[in-house]
């Protein structure tokens, strides 16, 4: 059985189902991270003092550069498909995957440093928030990497059988990935700088 409206647009919404689906998913993600940011505001405004300089700003900045770079390569992976350049699409998608992996390696270094100093989530409210927010974000990075690995590997076959559907899937992956970048754009100043 074929799933309808995977490529063609529905007459009522003017959208392919996947496009509306990914945006509704992202809307739920906004609320998920929004709840954590709201919690952060409550805990921070309610605390007598708040630690500064606990985190490595430079490592955080490098990770911001990496994620922004990965957003550019992700949108280029999609644009390359639109330009019918399969080789460049592969290059940009693999680059995005590699940048995501570097981001997680940096996060591992950061976490290891905290744990070596005995700074577990129970150490303080700030550290608990740091691990919760960056941990959830890291899981989203991992999720994105799994999807990208699928399209680099077995999922690429779809390009030969249904090119339009493959392009749409890369677009939806990109929307998710840009959202993950967007969350980090706010996480970085909130946790590392303020």
């Amino acid at each position: 059985m074929n799933i309808p409206y995977t490529v063609e647009e529905r007459p009522d919404t003017g959208l392919a189902n996947g496009k509306l689906g990914i945006w509704l998913f992202l809307a739920s993600e906004v609320m998920l991270f929004g709840a954590l940011f709201s919690t952060y505001i409550i805990l921070r405004t309610g605390s007598v003092e708040w630690p500064h300089g606990e985190l490595n700003i430079w490592l955080g900045m490098i990770n911001t550069f990496i994620l922004i770079g990965s957003s550019v390569t992700m949108v280029m992976a999609w644009a390359s498909l639109k330009l019918n350049d399969w080789g460049k699409h592969r290059l940009y998608l693999i680059l995005t995957f590699a940048l995501a992996a570097i981001f997680l390696v940096n996060k591992y270094i950061e976490y290891s440093d905290h744990i070596a100093r005995g700074e577990y989530p129970s150490h303080s409210t700030f550290v608990a928030l740091y691990f919760t927010m960056t941990g959830l974000h890291g899981l989203h990075i991992l999720g994105g990497m799994i999807v990208m690995a699928y399209f680099i590997g077995p999922g690429q076959k779809l390009y030969k059988t249904n090119r339009e559907q493959f392009v749409n899937r890369i677009e939806y992956t990109g929307l998710y990935w840009h959202f993950v970048d967007l969350v980090w754009i706010f996480l970085f100043p909130v946790l590392y700088l303020l």
């Binding site: 959208l15 949108v75 967007l182 754009i185 303020l194």
Partner: protein, 119 residues
């Protein structure tokens, strides 16, 4: 199809420019942090730059600058509920349930057994 490819190739340049703008925004955020502004100014600047960067990512990379109305509709609802969510900290500060009134404090009714003020 040909015009679509032409349109996409025009966008490619914009994607790279936005990428550079996002890098510059990050450098500005960190540079301002190094100046050690007063907390209210530091928070304002950091959130302004982050919001600008977020706008660029959403409008250009996520193509929200030219989307269909159903997506705008879904996002409008999200924005409304997000504002409610962000207002929760304000609601908690406005919440006076369980907080003794001035009259209760002055008469000692707030803490039975404790002497009222001025006695």
């Amino acid at each position: 199809m040909h015009s679509e490819a032409h349109e996409t190739s025009k966008h490619v340049r914009i994607y790279w420019i936005i990428g550079v703008a996002l890098y510059i925004g990050t450098v500005i955020t960190v540079a301002v942090n190094q100046v050690h502004l007063a907390v209210p100014y530091a928070v304002t600047v950091a959130l302004l730059v982050a919001s600008t960067k977020g706008y660029l990512v959403a409008s250009v990379f996520m193509h929200l600058n030219h989307e269909k109305k159903w997506i705008y509709g879904a996002l409008l609802l999200t924005v409304v509920f997000f504002i409610v969510l962000m207002s929760v900290p304000i609601f908690t500060m406005m919440d006076t349930i369980g907080t003794p009134t001035v009259r209760e404090v002055s008469t000692g009714a707030a803490h039975p057994g404790a002497a009222p003020e001025g006695h």
